[in-house]
Symmetry: C2
Subunit: 288 residues, 2 copies
């Protein structure tokens, strides 16, 4: 029985479809509009409960991988669309269990944690600073309770990702595009460290978690802090023109955030394959 993927036409979703197919999985993408994807699709707006139920009946997925959410760069942190995304996530889980789905895997975020310690493990305190973080955390908690009698449930908490196809407005693509246009681009000093992972690795880890029996919250990241200044260097080097105007914008807080990926490496057996440098190079090549 197939894995049904929501958000399959999104930035991460397209890479996840490829990663699942690479592993020989029967994948069906649930998409809002007819889309060209590397897998069969069913068309349903998650707002349309009847269409979602019909899609579930048609596909009869054994596993649902739910990536869809409101992710508009810049605005997603505090947008009220997060409330609707939470509601639609609950509805989807209900429709999935009604259709006999026995594994539900969802997309959480590092923003569910309280950012007062640099190393964030699955059992670290969860106290978000944004509506995005609160609604993701709420989705995790209410689905844990709702799905317990019905289906296995895993919730991946992603760190920072970049790569080909990322929405304009995100760091690597917007900086890369600016430099490629020969512009000097105002940035922070880049002094902070974050857990960055190349999207093809994120997608492969997502496929591995989805196909594993792991349940509960699980961090998906590199487990390593990358200084943003190092990203700047790599992007400048890959592009070969334009300049990063370091210090023109304020730095983020806090100084360091890294995911503890012990569960991902020990229980799922997954480790990254792409170096940061190779990932940046590939992203810039595609942008070019």
């Amino acid at each position: 029985m197939p894995v049904l993927v929501t958000g399959a036409a999104g930035f991460l979703g397209r890479h996840v479809v490829a990663a699942l197919r690479h592993r020989g999985v029967d994948v069906v993408g649930l998409v809002r509009h007819p889309s060209t994807l590397a897998c069969p699709t069913v068309v349903a707006d998650l707002r349309d409960a009847r269409a979602v139920a019909a899609a579930m009946t048609e596909v009869r997925p054994s596993t649902v991988l739910h990536l869809a959410w409101y992710t508009h760069p810049g605005t997603f942190w505090h947008a009220e669309e997060n409330l609707e995304a939470l509601a639609l996530t609950c509805q989807l889980a209900q429709a999935a269990t009604k259709a006999g789905c026995t594994r539900f895997v969802g997309a959480g975020t590092v923003a569910e944690y309280r950012w007062d310690t640099p190393r964030l493990a699955e059992d670290s305190p969860r106290e978000p600073a944004t509506l995005y973080g609160w609604t993701k955390k709420a989705a995790y908690e209410v689905l844990s309770a709702f799905l317990a009698p019905h289906s296995a449930f895993a919730w991946m908490r992603y760190g920072w990702m970049f790569g080909p196809g990322e929405p304009s407005g995100k760091l690597v693509s917007s900086l890369g595009a600016g430099l490629l246009a020969g512009r000097d681009v105002p940035c922070s000093t880049g002094s902070v460290s974050r857990d960055y992972l190349y999207v093809e690795d994120v997608a492969d880890a997502t496929a591995a978690v989805t196909l594993s029996p792991v349940v509960g919250g699980i961090n998906v990241g590199s487990g390593v802090g990358t200084r943003v200044a190092h990203l700047f260097d790599q992007i400048e080097q890959a592009v070969g023109r334009g300049r990063v105007l370091r210090g023109a914008l304020p730095d983020d807080h806090p100084p360091e955030l890294v995911l503890d990926v012990g569960r991902l490496s020990n229980e799922v057996g997954w480790t990254p394959r792409w170096s940061l440098e190779a990932g940046i190079q590939r992203t810039i090549d595609v942008l070019r």
Copy 2:
């Protein structure tokens, strides 16, 4: 500008409407079906976003008091309808802020707390054991984040309540009805203590919190533990026939749960007026 009350035709809601009117407040009930209430009403199903928006535009409430939820006795603890209630609560808060509402007051529950300590204060750990508790907790958390820039937000965590009009299937009404019919009614030993408050007091406290400037989570209860065996005695005495078959059913867990009502008494200045005995007597009189 009026206070708009959802769930106004419910068990607690009808008493709250009376309590608000008793305080001279301009109250409008938001009801699913045309209902005979002691206040003006607007009819809108909370599932119908357009009807809710129209109701908000018509009423222009300064304050929304949101009591509606899925509350079917027995099944509400684990029913999936809790997921929809969470979604509709988020939608209502969005509609309220769009209409210029500056205070939103919601109905939470003692079931949001972790029941591993007998005295539950607002800062006690929140770790529910039921889907009802998880969805109420999620509503509190996501609305706290969503409403912060728009409107004052208070969230009342209710203990146990009883009184005239309570749904059949709840302890006092079902036991009272059984005894009034002259039956012997199988019950637990009644060894556990819970924070019971007569519904007219709960309603008056709700009115007081609604009209106060208090924000955040606030416990609404008696602050006193009542042994369920004492309730049995009082009900038997008020009815005067039939018998409570003590020990025929298992006791609940944990042995004792009492709300710390320091905020309610110190910051809102509210204390109970009804004795438990008088409340039971009144409930039985109305049942009779």
